[in-house]
Amino acid sequence: MRVELIKRPQQSALFSAVSPFIALGLTLIAGAIMFSLLGKNPLDALYYYFIDPLTGIWDPFNRWQLHELAIKAAPLILIAVGLSVCFLSNNWNIGAEGQFVAGAMAGSMIPVLFPEFHSWIVLPLMLIMGMAGGAAYASIPAFLKVRFNTNEILTSLMLVYVAQLFNDWLVRGPWRNPEGFSFPGTVRFHEYAILPQIWPDAGRAHWGFIFALIAAVAVWFMLSKTVKGFEVKVLGQSPRAGRFAGFSASRMVFFAFLISGALAGLAGISEVAGPVEHLNEKISIGYGFTAIIVAFLGRLNPLGIVAAGLILALTYLGGEAAQISLQVSDKTVRAFQGMLLFFVLASDTLIHYRIRLVASPAAKPAELAATEAAGNV
């Protein structure tokens, strides 16, 4: 038995639309098998994972869960929207986690270094600093790629470790709250440095989620309605064609990295100024990597990414719910997310190819092959 791929004459519109759903379905099946192997009732586990956190939709007493969903989804969507520009233009920025931390540190400078500076301008300044910090950090691999032809995958990833270590030093050393007992972390931000909540009466969701939606719509508009978006896609699919069109590949490297860095930085400062309310050593919990899964599940389309971000956020909440109700380890969450990306990538094959199972390898009679070839034309 052998798998054979037959190239479709053009992309399948049907499978472009349904492939993420096929992937989700396969992930649910694989997840059910995984939970049975762990000795849990798979239906219970899937209920706690994917339904329980959503009960707030019909149950007003559980509205807070939807807010928690928005809190988790905000950084994922912000980062993944930026990554879509990178991946579409064939720039492999996988260091968004580092840019997230860089943005968090840069934005925290104002409330930490000038704690007496109370004004309405503090928060906008922090957000700008956060975006600038993330963009500056992302410009390092971009510069190295353009100037020295260095592989951006490896450099951007190495910078994640550097940013995490630098942040660890800051919150244990110079920025440490002297009244924080033995816990590493900065002082709690004052009220002017905290992102407001959207509906404070109902839950904790903050403006970060609104930023995420705005970013998604803006980048969607840029990608699908402007020449710049066309340039992104042309340079990604065929750099040669892009050169003939007069597009600059080096400028695109900077464009993609700066946008994704700025959005990752905004995600970082929104996390710190939102739910966490101070900078500590634990802010980096892998949103930058999970956002890679979000970007692909959303098929690199910013609007698809909003949906994908909510789904991945659901797995975080579901993981917590399953841990409390079924004593399933919270470590299953990352395994689940990893499986999802695999199924997404595998399902995307259906867009470009028809898949056929062939019984015996290479032993096909020539006649049959010839008629088939004729049939394909």
Binding site: L5, I153, L154, T155, L157, V162, A335, L341, F342
Partner: protein
Amino acid sequence: MFEQIIITIATAATPLLIAAIGELVVERSGVLNLGVEGMMIMGAVAGFAAAFTTGSPWLGLAAAICAGALFSLLFAFLTLTLVTNQVATGLALTLLGLGLSGMLGETFTGQPGVKLPLIYIPVLTELPLVGRLLFGQDPVFYLSLLLTGAVAWFLFRTRAGLTLRSVGDNHGSAHALGINVIRIRYLAVMFGGACAGAAGGYLSLLYTTQWIESMTAGRGWIALALVVFASWRPWRVLAGAYLFGAVSIGQLHAQALGIKIPSQFLSALPYLATIVVLVLISRNRRLTMINTPASLGRPFVPDR
């Protein structure tokens, strides 16, 4: 003291060397597998689990190798059979490996591990100065040197090695000559997986003798960088691995000596060194162009 430092450098360099040599063979066949970190951590958890339950570090090492090879099959099936994007699939392999290993290894956290024994040859190991260095290290250390030599010989001195390189340099022509490109790439990817698994097993069976979540700490990525640094040549991988071993041991010694630099900055050194080395190598565009396997990362669908 000096002897001891050399030995610890070898211990830090060996996992990098094994993983990078495996990835070198994979890339020479034209496949870019960014999942080294994921295969390595799967090897680490499988190795620890097998050694912990059976009590035998050798079974642990065997389990690590098998786990790495099996896990790499996932990547091979997606990229070679389903022709998915190699960069994205490699990332997926790393994310899945880190997630799965964290889940599988949870029960082993904090448990005492089983350590691979050091070689002991009567008389020879007790020689002054060079005894421990040459005749008293762990067996995997010797295997890693053998592996480097064997891969160098295989790639550049055998017909099969030439075939593998031809697949990596021009899969279209290789296919036209009747070479089964996909089969060779499957074998190369599995070899790379086995090596990454062994490197992970080395970490949990000898380097730390414990299971810690995400214990590979970016070593898989450093191994990937080493392949670029070595411009796809096995003996240069050896040199690079020992250079990185020296950097990471050097920073540990500096921390122990209480040098007035924050420990986090010293810990960041191996990662910064990777970036610096990559820049130095990549800036010479001609050199990288000549050595990079021409079909690296390009999808291949056999036509009939």
